[in-house]
Amino acid sequence: MPVQLQTQRSSRFLDLWFYLALCSAGVMLLAVISAGFLGKTLIATNLEVDPEEAVELQPIQVQKTLIGALRIEAQAAVPANRWVTYEIQLRDRQGNLLASVIKQAWNESGTWYEDGESGTWEESDLIGGLDVRSDQPETMTVAIQVLDHTSTSGQEIDQPVAFSVTVQNGVVDSRYLWAGLVGTASLTLLSLFAISMTGAKVISKTIRDSDVGDRALMGGSDRLVRVTVHILSDETSPKSLQVHLFVKDRSGEQIYHNSFPVKLSLSKEKGKVDVGTGKLTVFFLLEPRSSYGFYAEVVPDGPIDETKLVVRDGAKTLIPVQVHHLKTL
């Protein structure tokens, strides 16, 4: 029976799922970047708050927005070894509390000793914040109140505390977006590795020799067949070798033969080659769907420890690949 062979680069079998995952990671990246540009600063100011006092900022008009929220952030500025408990308050036009949050801020430093060495450390946690969403347009006022201000030994300190406060509207919560970016990026990476495992494994045969072969039912006009030959060679490995690949039809007649050069990646130990590994991947489109045999022979066969043949039927590819189209007429 005559066999037609056509070899051409094909993008018919691209794994669109991978590109969909890549797109979603791209969308997350855009979302993270755009989040930095959203939000309009209404107030950015510095103020000093006396103990037990509440200091009000100027009133702000807040409209109901479709995206984002009103964000209030305050950063206390205190010397080392102080604790400050402060409250961020939201008040309505009549001065009634709309909401309040408490931050237990601290700034500490000291000396550490370990294994005869020593040094100083300084750590602080001074920023407090609140995001609010309102279901109606309203006028409100932000106020900061210091509830408690002590030294690390617990002694009350009767001094004002300096704060820098920013109020922004329309701010999005980028914590979700970062989580989404990390999640989608790792799924995209996983699917990148998963592409080589697409399709049904119809042949998987390992032999401790240089020639391996098997046959199975595979192919069809829209099923890509991925043939992979893994080579393991010993300390006498050359830099590259040849793999002869044969395809036989259901009656055992050879319908394809080609030899492919394969570069070995050599792992060395103390400057000497220890083992070599190589991999050959070839794509076929086999028509009609039938039983086909694949045989691989590695030349030279001297250094070969192991040869493994894997054939996957219905495979997908990452990029356009060279496909050998064998059609039995």
């Binding site: 931050k103 500490e108 995001d131 279901d135 977006l177 989404g180």
Partner: protein, 75 residues
């Protein structure tokens, strides 16, 4: 296999973009239930809503027990 990963990635995108842009984790003014509230910078609410009014915790002015953080804490 890649289809499952792609659908999971799309789901993550949908959920996180929606949550981030609608600010579902912010404090919703005057609502008694705040199931999705997620505090920022370890700043905790000092009250709750009842009948659309903020009820501040009465004990919030006495925070004498607070002992800061840092590597020296708890030693």
């Amino acid at each position: 296999m890649t289809s499952v990963l792609a659908i999971a990635a799309l789901l993550i995108t949908g959920i996180t973009v929606t949550a981030g842009f609608t600010q579902s984790s912010s404090l919703h003014l005057r609502e008694e239930r705040q199931p999705l509230y997620w505090s920022r910078h370890g700043t905790s609410l000092s009250g709750r809503y009842h009948n659309r009014t903020w009820l501040a915790n009465p004990e919030r002015t006495s925070y004498g027990e607070f002992r800061g953080g840092g590597p020296g804490a708890g030693k």
